[in-house]
């Protein structure tokens, strides 16, 4: 049986190494993200997942390795370079300002303003309209736009953080543990949201610890890191949770590298 032809990867990192002092956080790690696919990045604590995401988002610069976007190697000197390529990141701590409301957070640093004679006044009505559009597309109509996000629930805050990343129509979205602090139902909602992104042709990377409930159900491929190295990768439909966990803790390495 021939597997269907894969689209070319939009973002690939090759042979990435990164050390902090004497600790080798990543050693010769490679990863590819394809449009329309959700890749789950899994691994035990200290496997290097967050470090890898920070390299992908431009927050950390690798000691060695290549950063390829749409097949070409690109220079990455900071998060802004990566954002300009169309890669958005939702950090684990969400990076939302609790004292600002949803609209202010969505547009923070990218506010739309009127011409100089209005004193560069923020076009609040336009921002609200766009925010409402995006939230409706995400089926999140119940979020109040004008309340400080600090007063909202964890699920709502997570959704706003995701909405902020897709507001700018990115090609790649990276999510660092989006469901870690969420209730089961809120996590399901986030999972549906992530599936929606991939079905719109985005390449999605998601870090999660929840193999059985979240990763197997909401990803197309699974990339396993162990002790800062690529340990295995799987197609989600062709693997059991047990096999993934084994690869994470080093039971049987690389059981299925067919993908």
């Amino acid at each position: 049986m021939q597997p269907p032809p894969l689209p070319d990867p939009i973002l690939s990192l090759r042979h990435i190494s990164k050390s902090f002092g004497g600790v080798k956080a990543l050693q010769d790690v490679s990863i590819e993200l394809r449009p329309g696919e959700t890749t789950a990045l899994v691994g035990d604590n200290g496997a290097g997942k967050s470090t890898l995401v920070k390299v992908m988002s431009g927050v950390l610069r690798p000691d060695e390795g290549q950063y390829l976007f749409e097949g070409r190697e690109v220079p990455v000197n900071g998060p802004r370079d990566v954002a300009r390529l169309g890669v958005q990141t939702v950090y684990q701590d969400l990076a939302l300002c609790n004292n600002l409301d949803a609209v202010q957070n969505l547009f923070l640093g990218r506010e739309r303003t009127g011409p100089w004679w209005t004193g560069f006044r923020v076009r609040r009505a336009e921002c609200e309209r766009r925010a409402r559009d995006v939230l409706r597309r995400m089926r999140l109509d119940s979020i109040a736009l004008d309340r400080p996000v600090g007063a909202m629930s964890g699920g709502q805050r997570q959704n706003i953080a995701i909405a902020r990343s897709i507001l700018w129509e990115p090609k790649v979205v990276l999510l660092d543990e989006p469901t870690a602090a969420l209730s089961h139902s809120a996590a399901e909602q986030v999972g549906a949201l992530i599936n929606g992104l991939a079905s719109h042709g985005l390449a999605v990377l998601v870090i999660s610890h929840d193999i059985h409930n979240f990763v197997l159900e909401n990803s197309d491929r699974i990339e396993v890191l162990r002790l800062g190295k690529n340990a295995a990768h799987f197609r989600s439909g062709e693997v059991t949770g047990e096999q993934v966990v084994n690869a994470m803790v080093g039971g049987k390495e690389g059981v299925n590298s067919a993908a």
Binding site: D93, C97, N98, N99, L100, F107, R110, R132, P148, G150
Partner: protein, 366 residues
């Protein structure tokens, strides 16, 4: 497009949660209070009103700078020393070195804003709390001002600026008065009192609106617009609310904070320029304790000491309240030491209510 699941806050509740609400009620209360006890002593005659509104305007000018800086998450305790310093720069430049007054004014602005930038740069670079860095600056700058004044002029108080300021083109924007014709006309019509003897005979007791008041109102409007209507205002709130998150969103947090230190220094310099050109003298010890008075106005106005929350209008109202109470106690002949007791009490109440309201609005635990 409202959703039933969103809990709508009542209009009154929303109003109560605005940061400036406490200061607004406070202003009304103190005005009523002094109308009852001090109106007979002339506090609400034209000259009485001018008296406390000038004091309030002085507080407002420095409070605006302190307000934006506090919302951005920092303090500046060197405001008072900056007032003494910039006033002395102007006086020494024009009285000792004989430079035109407008050159002295520009020099004072350039130097004080450069020092403000240096202040901010130190805070950002060292990562130390601005409280301690600017406390050091409070002493350094005050000492340098006295040293500069003594070594160049052998004095710590320089007077004689008045005639120079009156001939200058720039000085009246700080020390002058507007609508003098209108006030003279009102005096002639008998609507406001006029002096009946002395060199001012026939002139109204209030001869115009001091430039200081225009500065105060102008700065409040400018800063309120900047804070609530422009992207930069969002950045100030973000820098003070969560500098880490703001940086991730691409906000140049360091630049925002340094600019706010410069703006605070600018406001202190405006205060000093008005004082020197209006009263005609500068003193190396001017501006003592002004940094704390500015911070008190800002806190009464609803801002949080931890940053990220506050209102310029609130700070302006805090300044009015401050001015009315200080001068009101004077008019009513009360023991002036009571003013400090009142001020301390007010500060405590303001801090406690602000913290409580913030918990209601933003949610606890962050």
């Amino acid at each position: 497009m409202t959703d039933e699941r969103v809990k709508e806050l009542g209009f009154a509740q929303k109003l109560l949660m605005r940061p400036e609400m406490g200061a607004f009620c406070g202003v009304i209360l103190v005005l009523i209070f002094f109308l009852l006890i001090a109106a007979d002593n002339g506090m609400f005659n034209p000259d009485g009103i001018q008296n406390w509104s000038v004091v309030s305007a002085q507080f407002a000018i420095i409070a605006v700078g302190a307000c934006l800086l506090m919302i951005a998450g920092e303090f500046d305790l060197s405001v008072g020393s900056m007032i003494g310093f910039s006033g002395m720069v102007l006086a020494i430049a024009s009285l000792h070195f004989g430079l035109p007054v407008w050159v002295g004014i520009l020099l004072a602005f350039v130097l004080s804003m450069a020092l403000g930038a240096f202040n901010g740069f130190l805070v950002i670079k060292t990562g130390l709390p601005s409280f301690i860095v600017t406390l050091a600056f409070l002493y350094i700058l005050r000492g340098l001002t006295i040293f500069m004044s003594v070594t160049t002029t052998n004095k710590t108080i320089l007077s004689g600026m008045k005639p120079l300021a009156e001939e200058d083109w720039l000085a009246p924007f700080f020390g002058g008065e507007a609508f003098q014709g209108f006030f003279q006309w009102m005096g002639n019509m008998g609507w406001i009192e006029t002096y009946t003897r002395g060199i001012f005979e026939g002139q109204p007791v209030v001869s115009g609106v001091p430039a200081l008041i225009f500065w105060a109102v102008g700065l409040v409007i400018f800063a309120q617009f900047l804070l609530t209507r422009t992207p930069f205002g969002n950045w100030i709130f973000a820098a003070g609310g969560d500098a880490h998150a703001a940086a991730y969103a691409g906000i140049p947090v360091k630049r925002v904070k340094i600019l706010m230190f410069m703006f605070t220094a600018f406001c202190a310099c405006v205060f000093a320029m008005c004082q020197v050109t209006e009263f005609g003298s500068a003193g190396a010890d001017r501006g003592l304790l002004k940094e704390f008075e500015a911070i008190i106005c800002v806190v009464i106005g609803g801002a949080l000491l931890t940053g990220g929350y506050g209102s310029v209008i609130g700070a302006g109202l805090g300044a009015i309240m401050f001015g009315v109470v200080q001068q009101g106690l004077f008019f009513s002949g009360a023991e002036s030491s009571l003013f400090r007791v009142f001020l301390g009490g007010l500060l405590l109440i303001a801090v406690i209510t602000n913290t409580y309201i913030r918990r209601r609005v933003i949610g606890a635990g962050d």
